[in-house]
């Protein structure tokens, strides 16, 4: 048995009246990947912020390699050898990748001039194993996935004994994620202790040695990964057995398409995409970063201009890129960036839900707050939004419930075509199941649902058929039994249809 790297004993943390952590423990060995799991609000992030020096525990003991571990800030934590890769990207957008990666070093070095060329070379080195990101690019110009890679590279340069990953793959594609996994395995082989937080069960089982489960701020159990199953872990997380994650496909989609997209391009990532959406189906849209998935949907919804192609809805041409007109026609879009573009964090749940169509809850000039609250209450019931009141600001809700509010906002206008982009990103497993059920329920009511997701098991679990994009073009379509991670990845990587499929042709 290898030495114990980090031990957390009986740590508690309160925020006002809220007990974020109650007597939790965690033991991390050297050369171990230790997964920490739990629903949102289980206290994982609080503990990680304590370990990272961002928060101070109210009670309890933490020891690093047998020595008491007391840190008053992230810099102190890094000095002792504990690094944290944040779930939310904390980079400076206006400086280069290299300057971001070596931010803390530049800060502590104390020299007068920046050693730009040296930093660039070392940044290239740090990034080499991950994904090609130019060291001299400005971080703000990079897509989210590349920014996440920079965040990871930054932590890797710290030479830590303990490295904490908080949902590192949330914004990564499968390829980038598997590059990260091989790096994590390398770090593990060097004797580093790694704490890994993720909602993705498959990752946890592929990567971790042990799994510790938290629930409602309390320690539940530490399990050996080899001796347990995803179902068992999920049961521990929610405290009751989980039924099927993905809802059954019941109805038959209509045969006639309501929305037809013919050869659209946006002059950038989207080169030539044609697709049809039928009422009553869930169409999955897969593709790697850079495939133009999101951009295609933005162009269809009228949120971004298109340079070529035709869009027909109900037999009418949609000519202008005008999202307001799309909303009126019944075409709505759920953004992948919940906090940035989906919800108004400081406004109330009710005010959020009525944002798309105020006429729904108002007379000619004034908002009828009784109607507004009634709509919000109906949505709260229907989507299971957990809150004490619909007057509560959305900021105070958990990620999963914020996402339900974002969805409620769209459902309030009774859409006919619903585009959802990464609908369960950063959402706990209970809320995921609920969102899947909601999407399937909508399809059963005759809504056409188009879902984008980087999580292939999810996409395969919820979709009736999957359209795969590669570099702005449709690479192929899979449906029914031929939907598998292999067939989709094959198409997404630009290799054409998977071999098993070509035989059927």
């Amino acid at each position: 048995m290898s030495e114990i790297m980090l031990s957390v004993r009986n740590v508690s943390k309160r925020f006002g009246a809220v007990h974020a952590l109650t007597n939790v423990r965690l033991e991390l060995r050297a050369g171990e990947v230790h997964a920490l799991m739990g629903e949102n609000g289980a206290g994982k992030s609080t503990l990680m912020n304590i370990l990272g020096g961002v928060l101070q525990p109210d009670e309890g003991r933490i020891e690093l390699k047998g020595q008491p571990y007391v840190v008053d800030g992230p810099a102190a934590a890094q000095k002792l050898g504990v690094g944290l890769v944040h779930q939310e990207i904390a980079l400076c957008p206006d400086i280069t990748v290299a300057e971001n990666i070596f931010m803390s070093e530049t800060n502590s070095r104390g020299g007068f001039w920046m050693e730009t060329s040296n930093l660039n070379a070392r940044a290239e080195q740090a990034l080499a194993g991950l994904h090609p990101v130019p060291a001299t690019a400005l971080v703000g110009d990079l897509p989210i996935a590349s920014q996440q890679i920079v965040e990871i590279a930054k932590a890797l340069t710290l030479n830590c004994d303990v490295l904490i990953f908080d949902e590192p793959t949330a914004a990564l594609t499968e390829t980038e994620a598997s590059a990260l996994f091989s790096i994590i395995r390398g770090l593990k082989a060097r004797g580093m202790g790694i704490i890994y937080i993720s909602h993705r069960m498959a990752e946890i089982f592929a990567l971790s040695d042990r799994i510790t489960v938290f629930r409602d701020g309390a320690f539940v159990e530490t399990l050996n990964t080899a001796e347990t199953t995803p179902e068992e872990v999920a049961t521990r997380m929610v405290g009751r057995p989980l039924l099927d994650l993905y809802p059954a496909r019941r109805g038959k989609p209509a045969s006639a398409a309501c929305l037809t997209v013919d050869g659209i391009a946006d002059g950038n990532l989207v080169k030539d995409v044609s697709l049809e959406v039928r009422p009553g189906e869930i169409l999955g849209l897969a593709g790697l970063i850079g495939s133009g998935r999101t951009e295609t949907v933005l162009a269809i919804c009228g949120l971004a201009p298109r340079t070529e192609g035709r869009i027909r809805f109900d037999g009418h041409d949609i000519r202008q890129a005008d999202y307001r007109a799309s909303i009126r026609a019944g075409i709505v879009y759920l953004s992948e960036d919940r906090k940035g573009t989906s919800v108004f964090l400081d406004l109330s749940i009710a005010e959020n839900i009525s944002a798309l169509d105020l006429r729904n809850v108002s007379g000619s000039l004034f908002i009828r707050s009784r109607d507004e609250n009634a709509v919000a209450e109906e949505m709260r019931e229907r989507l299971g939004i957990r809150c004490s009141s619909v007057a509560q600001p959305v900021r105070t809700l958990s990620g999963g419930n914020q996402q339900k509010v974002a969805l409620a906002k769209l459902l309030a206008v009774k859409p006919r075509v619903l585009f959802v982009d990464e609908p369960t990103r950063g959402v706990d497993i209970g809320a995921k199941a609920r969102i899947y059920a909601i999407l399937r329920g909508l399809a059963d009511e005759g809504v056409a649902v188009v879902a984008i997701s980087s999580e292939l098991p999810e996409l395969i679990g919820i979709s009736d058929r999957i359209l795969v994009l590669h570099e702005g073009r449709v690479a192929g379509e899979v449906s029914g039994a031929s939907m598998s991670e292999e067939t989709v990845m094959h198409l997404a990587s630009g290799l054409g249809p998977a071999p098993t499929q070509t035989r059927h042709h």
Binding site: R324, T341, F344, D346, A355, L358, R395, T396
Partner: protein
């Protein structure tokens, strides 16, 4: 209930208007002991008069702050309204038409600023800084740098600024009506809901189909128009228009709005809060005068109040988001 009381208290303290009312009440109690003149009708009248006209500008500024903008040009625009109205009157136009044209000019200045912000993509701060200087230059140009004497304004027009309904100055009546109208509009109209959406998260507003550019332009136009209204009221009150009027007004107006709970990040603010903020600043000034505090101290104290208000708000807000 010992358990329920603290939480109710806490929630009330978090409502900005309640905190301001409490402070104002405190000033009333302390000052009524400290100075026999404080609680007299003439002093109260003077205090109300002093913030009523500027309060009209505070309403406009609050609206612009909510949408995520700011307007440094309000002092110059108020002055523009006075000198344009005055110049047109002196040129022979009847004062009512002259005033309407002056107000329209000010609204147009706001509209122009909104266009610069939304079309070119500049920041309100920079655009309004430029317009502050440009409009001040216009005022000097129109008046050739000398004050206009408008003693010949007809009594019916002077009534706007000098008359009273019973014991209440007409200026205060105008202010109260504007407060009532905009308070209802901000809380309940669909347009102002879009203003809050845009200021709270512009991208999310765009992704909800809100025409954020149009919303911002309209807010800037409202702010300019209300500054114009204030200028006309000043003109009627003073019977004169000086090209240097309103220098530095933007600072006290922004201070009042921010003390009243408007955030420079947009998305928050209420009319009631803004009015109480303006009232508080005016009460403090009046109290300091009654207490014979040297005028140089007054600015220091008012600046300190702004700092305290913003700090308190920040502390309450950070605790709120953690809890």
């Amino acid at each position: 209930m010992t358990v329920a009381n603290p939480s109710v208290m806490k929630r009330l303290i978090r409502v900005r208007e309640f905190g301001l009312l409490a402070i104002i009440a405190l000033i009333f109690v302390v000052m009524s002991f400290a100075s026999p003149y404080f609680l007299t009708w003439s002093n109260m009248r003077a205090v109300m008069l002093s913030f009523s006209v500027e309060g009209i500008v505070v309403i406009g500024m609050t609206i612009l702050l909510i949408v995520g903008g700011i307007d440094l040009s309000v002092g110059s625009v108020v002055c523009l309204s006075m000198v344009v109205g005055g110049a047109l009157f002196l040129a022979g136009l009847d004062p009512w038409t002259a005033s309407l044209i002056a107000i329209a000019c000010c609204g147009f200045i706001g509209f122009l600023m909104g266009q610069c912000v939304t079309r070119i993509g500049l920041h309100f701060f920079i655009v309004s800084l430029a317009f502050m200087v440009i409009v001040r230059g216009l005022c000097l140009l129109i008046t050739k740098g000398t004050p206009q004497s408008l003693f010949s304004l007809p009594p019916a027009f002077k009534f706007i600024g000098q008359g009273s309904l019973g014991p209440v100055p007409f200026v205060i009546v105008i202010f109260v009506v504007l407060i009532a109208v905009f308070d209802v509009l901000l809380r309940r109209s669909t347009f102002f809901r879009r203003v809050y959406y845009t200021g709270s998260n512009e991208k999310a507003a765009l992704f909800s189909g809100v025409n954020t550019n149009r919303t911002k332009v309209i807010c800037a136009t409202i702010c300019g128009t209300l500054s114009g209204v204030a200028g006309v009221v000043y003109m009627a009150r003073f019977g004169a228009a000086t090209p240097q009027f309103g220098v530095g007004m933007e600072l006290s107006v922004i201070a009042a709005a921010v003390i009243g709970g408007a955030s420079l990040n947009g998305g928050s603010g209420t009319i009631a809060g803004a009015v109480l903020g303006a009232a508080l600043l005016s009460l403090v000034t009046s109290s300091l005068i009654l207490l014979n505090v040297a005028p140089y101290w007054q600015d220091i104290i008012r600046g300190g109040i702004l700092l305290v208000a913003v700090t308190a708000d920040h502390l309450l807000n950070t605790r709120k988001s953690k809890g």
